[in-house]
């Protein structure tokens, strides 16, 4: 790893951290001033979210060659969610290197690229919470329950949300509304989200594309085991 690479990453991360610290839906800090290890907490402000009011602590590990490689994200208090492993790690395509697990069914367009940012990752993770991908689960129990017993699933999520509130630091003012709106998407380029011409799939609905596509394909593929 060259010294240069490290410096580049540090400079970019410093700017990104500053940018992210302006947002009220996330509480982020570099651990002991180390820009490659962040303590983050996602604050769910959306009143229609099942996770409304949650304070979700997580750790973000950023590689020295960022943004060439994606960061690693882990919830410190694992959530009961089809795409979250029991160790708090996530199954979400944006955190995957474009090249790995060819067979997962993930489109290259949903994977990490050097044009992605910590900001886009955090937004994707927030939208994954309420938009679970049950067909390929990191937590099969959660996946089954979401399909078969949505009410029971909601109850567990509510418990998760209540537990997460214990992590709200003393003196931290929980924002109550989405008053500081997330800034407009950085990429104004019209064909940014379009599939490239040589893609055979990708005729999915546009609905999940509000913040870019979130797609998850880890763990065991769901088998119709009814």
């Amino acid at each position: 790893m060259s010294v240069d690479e490290r410096k580049i990453a540090e400079r970019m991360l410093m700017l990104e951290l500053k940018e992210i610290q302006k947002e009220n839906w996330v509480n982020a800090e570099a651990q002991n001033g180390n820009l490659f290890l962040w303590d983050v907490a996602l604050v769910v402000l959306n009143p229609t979210s099942l996770y409304h009011g949650a304070y979700l602590k997580a750790e973000l590990k950023i590689p020295k060659d960022y943004p060439m490689s994606p960061p690693e994200f882990r919830f410190l208090r694992p959530l009961f969610h089809p795409n979250i492993y029991k160790d708090g790690k996530l199954c979400i395509s944006i955190l995957h290197q474009p090249g790995e697990d060819e067979m997962s069914g993930e489109l290259a367009s949903e994977r990490w690229s050097a044009a992605q940012r910590i900001f886009t990752v955090l937004i994707s993770i927030l939208s994954l919470l309420d938009d679970a991908e049950v067909s390929s689960a990191a937590n099969v129990d959660a996946s089954v329950m979401l399909r078969k017993d949505p009410e029971g699933y909601k109850r567990i999520v509510k418990e998760n949300v209540e537990t997460s509130k214990r992590d709200i630091p003393a003196g931290f003012q929980m924002p109550t509304s989405m008053d500081n709106k997330p800034p407009p998407k950085e990429e104004e380029d019209d064909d940014f989200w379009c599939d490239s011409g040589d893609s055979d799939f990708g005729a999915d609905s546009d609905e999940d594309m509000i913040f870019g596509r979130v797609f998850s394909a880890c763990g065991s593929r769901w088998q119709a085991a009814d």
Binding site: R11, A114, D191
Partner: protein, 86 residues
């Protein structure tokens, strides 16, 4: 009246053929600035215009293309990254 110019200072400025507020999609520095590795803007740190319509600092996109996982795709639109020969 006859004027004799004894001396003059020529001043010129240059800029890349790209919108002035545009930043490189990889390092997020303006094209008129340099990639994070370089100190002086200009021919030493050129920009590369992809055929797909996305431009980057040559050094930035080169680093990306060299990663195995990039598979030679543009980081913005994921089409094969090809550029116009000058």
């Amino acid at each position: 009246m006859k004027v004799t110019i004894k001396t003059y200072n020529a001043v010129a400025y240059w800029r890349w053929d790209a919108p002035s507020d545009d930043v490189c999609g990889i390092c997020r520095v303006q094209f008129d600035g340099t990639c994070p590795n370089c100190r002086f803007p200009g021919d030493d740190c050129p920009i590369l215009n992809g055929k797909c319509g996305h431009s980057f600092h040559l050094h930035c996109v080169n680093d990306w293309i060299q990663t195995e996982s990039s598979r030679g795709l543009c980081p913005m639109c994921r089409q094969k990254f090809e550029f116009e020969a000058e």
